[in-house]
Every structure is written in structure tokens, then in C-alpha cells.
Subunit: 205 residues, 2 copies
């Protein structure tokens, strides 16, 4: 009996340690991919950056493509934690859209990822490369656009803004935030002010 319990405990500890190691590797992968793109990710670089063995990292993810998809998913979860979860209690429509842009500016300025917005850094690289990585990137993008469009719809229904096409507005808002991320990284000092003026004009009653 005791021996069985001990084995289960050891397995639990191993799984936990495995999960933690995975988090550490993925966290580094997200930073690298935000800086240099998902294309450049390699088991060797991740191993040397995290102090693990290359064989250990490779065993964890099997193929580069699986690593890339896992990195997209990890970035997506971090983005939701940073930008979406904190505004879930803010009222729908314009208040939530404004709060979302405020959180997004913090996300892009701080920045959560070393190279700034993960989505902006990688979508353009993968638009011409069909496959599971592009699918994961565009799934994340579509979810984000649907979130914005949903809040724009709320704002229209509540009469907070004039009748408009929510999908088109979401497309434009996302486009401006992507461009703002690039401008931020390049050191444009006026970009935060530009985002706020754009939001004021777009969400004016």
C-alpha cells in the first residue's frame, strides 16, 4: 500500500515539475517569438536560454510546429489575462471598449512580451504560410475581432454610438492597435496620444 501511495506522489510531483518546466519554456518562447518571430524559434535556443537540455526541450514538444502552436496558445492566454479578464466587470459597450484600449496600451507599452504585441509580430509572417501555426494565429485573431465587434454591437444597441458596422469597426480598431504596436516599438513618442484620439473619434456619441 505505502509503496503505491509513494509512487503516485512521485508521479504527481513529476507531472507538476514537468508542467512548470513547460511554462518556463513557453514563457521564453513567447518572448523570443514576439522579438524575432515564431519562424526563428528553435529547441537549441530555448534550451540555452532556460538552462535546460536541448533533448529535454525536444522531448517536451516533439516537433517545431507543435512548439510553435503551443507558443501561440500560451501568448493567447497571457493576452487574455492582461487585457480581457481585468475588464470583464466593466459595463458592456463604450465603457468596456475604452477600458480594453487602456489595458491594451499598458500591454503594449510595458510590454508583456519583450518584442511587444505577439499577434502583430507574427500574423504578417504567417499570412502566406498555410498550416497549423497560421490557423492558430488566425483563430486567436478572429476571437479578438469577435470580442471587439460584440462590444461595438452593444454600444450601437445601447445608443452610445451611431449605427455602424461592428465587424468593420472591429477591423479598423485592431488595425490601428497593430500599427500602434509597430510605432511604439520603433519609438514614436506620439503613438499613445494617437490611439486615444482615434478612440475618442470612433466612440463619440
Amino acid at each position: 500500500m505505502y509503496s503505491v501511495v509513494d509512487e503516485a506522489e512521485i508521479t504527481d510531483r513529476r507531472l507538476l515539475r514537468g508542467a512548470r518546466t513547460r511554462q518556463i519554456v513557453l514563457r521564453r518562447a513567447v518572448d523570443l517569438a514576439s522579438l524575432e518571430g515564431l519562424v526563428g524559434l528553435s529547441f537549441g535556443r530555448l534550451a540555452s536560454d532556460t538552462g535546460l537540455s536541448k533533448a529535454g526541450v525536444q522531448t517536451m514538444f516533439k516537433t517545431k510546429e507543435i512548439l510553435q502552436v503551443a507558443t501561440v496558445d500560451h501568448a493567447r492566454e497571457m493576452f487574455i489575462d492582461a487585457v480581457i479578464n481585468p475588464i470583464r466587470s466593466t459595463g458592456h459597450g463604450v465603457p468596456r471598449l475604452r477600458a480594453m484600449v487602456d489595458r491594451w496600451i499598458v500591454y503594449a507599452e510595458t510590454p508583456l512580451f519583450e518584442g511587444g504585441c505577439f499577434r502583430a509580430a507574427n500574423l504578417a509572417d504567417y499570412d502566406s504560410r498555410p498550416g497549423p501555426v497560421r490557423d492558430a494565429l488566425f483563430r486567436d485573431r478572429d476571437e479578438w475581432l469577435a470580442f471587439i465587434a460584440g462590444e461595438v454591437r452593444h454600444a450601437v444597441v445601447a445608443g452610445e454610438i451611431p449605427d455602424t458596422d461592428p465587424d468593420l469597426t472591429a477591423f479598423v480598431v485592431d488595425a490601428v492597435l497593430c500599427a500602434a504596436n509597430t510605432a511604439l516599438r520603433a519609438g514614436d513618442p506620439e503613438v499613445t496620444d494617437k490611439i486615444r484620439r482615434f478612440v475618442d473619434a470612433t466612440l463619440a456619441g
Copy 2:
């Protein structure tokens, strides 16, 4: 005398052939960089794609960085030929902005470069990498934004559109075109329609 003339002729022919070869290499470099990014450009790949020797391509550009900057300049010239030069005779302001967007849609849809908009494909890759390549990319971007802002200013002065901040409008127009390029590459069928509706809303009197 004759011998001098002959030598000059031979030199002329050599220079001409050198210039033509350079154009062929740069044309391929622009396609590759629009597909896979400037970061991935290599002398070896360009040599095998164009049928030249790797040593020949390397002699032409010396370093990878010089090749990358020359590729940005070549893409810039092709963009100006495709989008800007054909609209120089169109009236300033709203007519020229509309003509510009029409030309841009052809440029992105055809596409002029295998991977679509060169600027959109590379700016985000280089925003976190200071150096001459980033400088060339942002110089090109600033020139493009200044062109759009100049025409918006004309439209405001002529009373074609309400008083607005030309730099902000240029920033938003460029952002939407960049995002549209990514959506086009990814096969979004509604994107051309989205651009036209955005332009209609932005340039409404």
C-alpha cells in the same frame, strides 16, 4: 583612339550587364522578403533562385545588411511605380486618395510581390531591431504616411472632408491597409469590400 573607344564601350556594356543582373537579384530578393521576411534573405538562396553563383551575388552586395537595405529601396521604387506614379495626374485631395486606395488594392491583390505588401511583411519584424535595415523601412513608411497626410490636408483645405488631423488620418488609413494585406493573404473574401466601406466613411463630406 579606337582602342580607347572600344575599352569605354566594353566598360559600358559591362556596367549595363552588371546593373541588369543586380535588378534580377533584387527583384527576387523583394519577392522572397515579402514572403519570408528580410531576415531570412541569404546569398545562397538568391544565387540558386536566379542561377547566378553565390560568390557573384556576394561580390555584388558585400554584406547581408547592404543586400537588405538595397532590397528595401528596390521594393520602395516598385511601390512608387505601382501606386504613386499612376495617380500623380489625379486631382489633389479626395480624388487622389480614392485613386491611391484603388491602386493599392490592385497592388495588394495582384500581387506585385509574391508575399503581398512588402512594408506590412517587414515593418513588424524590424521594429525591435535597430540598425540601417529598420531605418530604411521606417524612412519608406514615413514617406508614405507623409504622402497620405498631404492629400488629407488638401481635402480639408478644399472643404471636401470635415476638419481632421491629417497625421492621425494617415496613420489610420495606413493601419487599415496593412491589416487588409494580412487578411487578403489569409484569404478573407470580404476584405476589399471592408477597405472600400472604410474609405467611404473616412472620406465622406
